[in-house]
Symmetry: C2
Subunit: 115 residues, 2 copies
DNA sequence: CTCGTATTTAACGAGTGTGTTATTTAACGA
DNA sequence: TCGTTAAATAACACACTCGTTAAATACGAG
């Protein structure tokens, strides 16, 4: 069991079924059977996926009679955005270079800016 | 071997060693031994981590004599940001609700806004 | 060609993740 | 209480991941 939150979160997101579950939950709360409906895998398998998502802090579960409604939690998604945001300047710099290149070409210099 | 790009990317990011390697590469290119230096694991283990990162499209590798310089690639990081960005409105809505709540409290209504 | 350095591949073991079916627990309702 | 429905857990199989050490490969220098 990994204690690192970011590791648990990325690990939980590294599964198409779990990402699809999150996408469904973005539209609103749902029960386990409702979440399982689109998939061809067994209910226990879905239950385990939900356990992983809950352990990662990506969802939380309430209780309504025998139903356990699942709700998406945004905290860890924000953490992921925060993590990837630290690299944003890398591709923004690349875009700016590309912009400069295209501007140079439009000025009639088809080889791009000189070094 | 999973073909889903997002799955491969999240899976590659679900490891603290690999994230640390990416952090190092954000500062510039590095060779395998340079990347291995901060870690207490063997060089073949690092080599495998780099293979995972490369397969996920998070890095690329050149060749300079017997050195294989690694370079970070931003495409998949942008893909991650794009994916998580689809959920941004969820926590922004929550923030807005919180703002409204705080504004209501400041107006002298300590129970918050009425439904 | 041979040696040294950088890196990868091979082979293996321990641990983990994901699926299954069968069973169990929890809660409602007649 | 009994039966039904919702969900979780148990027990098992299979594959994958991650680490190791030992051997192989790629390249440059002498």
């Amino acid at each position: 069991m990994q204690t690192d939150h970011l590791t648990a979160t990325f690990s939980a997101l590294a599964d198409p079924t779990r990402r699809a579950i999150l996408a469904r939950l973005a539209a609103g709360e749902a029960t386990v059977t409702e979440l399982a409906e689109p998939f061809s895998i067994s209910l226990p398998a879905i239950s385990r996926h939900l356990k992983v998502l809950e352990a990662a802090g990506l969802i939380s579960r309430g209780r309504d009679a025998q139903w356990r409604p699942c709700r998406i939690e945004t905290g860890q998604l924000e953490a992921v955005e925060g993590w990837v945001g630290r690299y944003r300047k890398l591709w923004q710099a690349r875009f700016e270079k590309m912009d400069a290149y295209l501007a140079e070409i439009q000025k009639g210099n088809p080889d791009g800016p000189k070094q």
